[in-house]
């Protein structure tokens, strides 16, 4: 399957041609070039998937293939970075997701970004992102993953800061890059620790579950915890940074300053699930060697899911609601991974996480693209500027509704199936946690329909421009994604991806399914009664009832302010400034002092240099006479 390299090369080619040709391409040429290249890449990805999933299983397990593996840089005898392609169920699944969503975004942007300054640049960056993200998922070793991990970080930075004349966008891009970079630092430390003990970066070796590989790390502890636990926990911090887990989530809501299709591609469907993918990729390591870290991941993820869902209920910027919803849903995926076991029915969580990743990517991209269509028409992100849009934008309305139902977990939409699997995995792990996650699912349904009713129902706001449905280039991706959201749930996903590679048959747990659907429908009706007319006074009363709590949630529980305090007050004011002062005044002052002392010292001898020739002559003659005396008489 050597041709699978095209999936990487085509977007990169797009980046290079569009990046170098720059503004010489007139009109929408750049967009067409980028889209055509990406369509080819997507086609290649589908071919790869079709061929891969039709390969015969070996002992019932899907093989993992390496059509390419070049040694790129050698560190030591054992450690070397390879660049290659690893095809196994999850990477092939991810390739399909990435290229599909990316292609949709490419097509959609032809309409959305039309006439924007920097149209070529936009498509070039999209190409760079698609290249990096594909490189990330097909990484054969953890260092290759780190390389592409950084590259997606940078493409995300460039795309968030696409409107670089807007100060908010610049600040948001900076924040996103620095927060994820901070997390990547821990990821790198984790990589270094793991490689120090195992002497390899290779996923094939690391994930073989071979305990001999980790033998040298066994029994070593650092500050009371096993070194290996430290290592995997650090790697998870890297994953948490990219996947916006609490408390490293702060960059994601701000990242919505980027163009909306970018939010759909990077900050909803693909890049933010890189952390989930990383944990899934290293799942055997977590499961066999550091199960306590895996459980920790589950708790952090569950807390994040709850936190983000609560915050999403009170946001008024539609993109921010979606952003918090994304954080919450990624929490769901990681919870599922965290509670998962390895074989057969125990491995439901793993399969469910991947399944949810797949379905979520589709319907969340759809939500963002729909939101983009709305913003495109309304010219605002605020819910208060919308309302009653269902007449003006019928297609957008229908597709958005489909996505909302999918996210709320209503059958037969895809979200129902994947979320149900997650819930049954969590219930198997701990009924309390299962109940909690069901509650979060209900919150999800509530805030999504709050959003839905506020946008499409209720009283229309005043608009300067007449409202219109989006052009075909924008609605066709919406329809396509809505279709996928409708049917994807019926995929026999367990046949493709499972924890141990064996075939896994999904069967619905009826009690959990019915329970969660009933609660979700109840939440939807609650949202309907509160927001349908846009005149109900109940929401304000409720806000008053919760008082401080409501205000805190609206301000995202002041996490951003805490960060602001730490970075500006502590790092800048208490470390950098004093250091700079110390440098200028103490170290440099010491050296200047040295120079000063030398200067003063030389003044002390100045009297000898009178500049008077005659006194020099006298001294010289005196000296000569002394010498003469010495030579003659001594």
């Amino acid at each position: 399957m050597e041709y699978s390299i095209l999936i990487l090369i085509l977007p990169l080619l797009g980046f290079l041609t569009l990046g170098l040709a720059g503004t010489r391409l007139k009109g929408k040429t750049a967009g067409y070039v980028g889209t055509a290249l990406l369509a080819l890449a997507a086609l290649t990805a589908y071919c790869t998937a079709a061929q891969y999933f039709n390969l015969p299983r070996i002992d019932g397990i899907r093989p993992s293939l390496r059509p390419f593996n070049w040694e790129w840089m050698r560190f030591t005898e054992h450690l070397h970075i390879d660049l290659g392609i690893l095809l196994d169920p999850i990477s092939v699944m991810m390739l399909v997701v990435i290229t599909t969503v990316s292609l949709m975004v490419h097509i959609y942007s032809l309409g959305y970004m039309e006439g924007e300054r920097g149209f070529q640049r936009y498509y070039a960056f999209l190409g760079l992102f698609t290249f990096s993200m594909s490189g990330l998922v097909v990484a054969t070793n953890i260092f290759q993953m780190y390389i592409f991990w950084e590259l997606v970080g940078v493409s995300s930075y460039l795309l968030i800061g696409f409107y670089y004349t807007k100060p908010e966008a610049v600040a948001a891009s900076k924040k996103a890059f620095i927060v994820t970079r901070f997390a990547d630092l821990f990821f790198l430390i984790g990589i270094l620790l793991v490689s120090y003990f195992t002497r390899t970066f290779d996923f094939g070796l690391l994930c073989s579950g071979d305990s001999a590989l980790f033998a040298s790390a066994m029994g070593k502890t650092f500050m009371g915890a096993a070194v290996l636990s430290w290592a995997t926990a650090l790697i998870f911090i890297g994953a948490a940074g990219k996947s916006a887990m609490f408390p490293l989530h702060i960059w994601l809501p701000d990242a919505m300053e980027g163009p909306t299709p970018v939010s759909a591609l990077i900050h909803a469907a693909t890049m933010v699930v890189a952390g989930v993918f990383l944990v899934a990729r290293l799942f055997p390591v977590y499961y066999f060697f550091t199960p306590e870290v895996l459980h920790g991941i589950a708790y952090i993820a569950a807390f994040t899911a709850l936190y983000a869902a609560i915050v999403a209920c009170v946001q008024t910027d539609i993109k921010r609601v979606l952003a918090f919803s994304t954080i919450s849903q990624i929490g769901f995926m990681l919870v599922a991974l965290g509670v998962s076991g390895m074989n057969g029915h125990e491995g439901t969580g793993y399969m469910a996480a991947m399944f949810h990743l797949f379905t979520h990517a589709m319907f969340k991209a759809l939500l963002f693209l729909g939101a983009g269509a709305i913003i495109h028409t309304v010219h605002s992100n605020e819910m208060s500027r919308m309302g009653g849009l269902r007449k003006a934008m019928p297609l957008t309305h229908i597709t958005f509704l489909a996505a909302c139902l999918a996210l709320a977990g209503i059958p037969p939409f895809s979200g129902f199936f994947s979320k149900d699997e997650i819930l049954s995995a969590v219930f198997a792990f701990s009924p309390w946690m299962g109940a909690g996650m069901t509650f979060i699912a209900a919150l999800t349904a509530f805030y999504m329909f709050r959003l839905y009713y506020n946008i499409f129902w209720g009283k229309p706001a005043e608009h300067e421009h007449p409202l219109h449905e989006a052009p075909a280039s924008m609605t066709s991706p919406l329809l396509f994604l809505a279709l996928i959201s409708l049917v994807a749930g019926f995929l026999p996903f367990g046949k493709f991806v499972s924890s141990n590679g064996l075939e896994y048959i999904i069967h619905l747990d009826v009690r959990i399914a019915v329970g969660s659907v009933v609660i979700a429908i109840a939440a939807i009706f609650a949202a309907r009664s509160l927001y349908r007319n846009g005149t109900s006074a109940v929401p304000d009363k409720m806000a008053g009832f919760f008082g401080v709590f409501h205000k805190a949630a609206k301000n995202r529980f002041y996490i951003d302010e805490i960060y602001q305090f730490i970075t500006h007050k502590i790092i800048f004011r208490c470390i950098s400034r004093p250091l700079a002062w110390f440098d200028r005044h103490i170290i440099d002052g010491f050296l200047n002092g040295l120079a000063c002392i030398t200067g003063k010292g030389s003044l002390a001898f100045r009297w000898m240099q009178t500049g008077n020739l005659q006194s020099y002559a006298l001294l010289m003659i005196g000296g000569c006479l002394l010498l003469l005396f010495w030579v003659l008489f001594l």
Binding site: T610, G611, N612, L613, Q614, A617, L618, I621
Partner: protein
């Protein structure tokens, strides 16, 4: 042919001239006087050259030629020095050593 006056007398005269020159060089305050003192020192060495040549190597002429060279050099040197002194005079209207300290401050 033996010289009538022995060598010591010549050397005594030249020594007196030499130290008189040194004394003048150190004590005089006027540039011209200092220049004259330097000339005295140079002349005394010329005498020494001639005398040593005459008494130690009577059949050779190197010492004599050295004296001639030395006289030539001192003439050139005097010319330069006087030129400098004249310039100094133009600038500060006198030639006293203590007034020349532009380079010092």
């Amino acid at each position: 042919m033996e010289p009538i006056i022995s060598m010591e007398y010549y050397l005594i005269v030249s020594s007196i001239m030499f130290f008189a020159g040194i004394y003048g060089f150190i004590t005089r305050r006027n540039l011209i006087a200092i220049l004259i003192s330097i000339e005295l020192v140079l002349t005394s060495t010329d005498i020494n050259f001639a005398v040593f040549n005459r008494f130690l190597f009577p059949h050779q002429l190197e010492g004599m030629f050295f004296s001639l060279f030395s006289i030539g050099v001192s003439a050139a040197e005097t010319a330069v020095a006087i030129a400098i002194i004249i310039n100094i005079y133009r600038n500060i209207k006198n030639v006293e050593v203590r007034n020349i300290k532009k380079l010092k401050d």
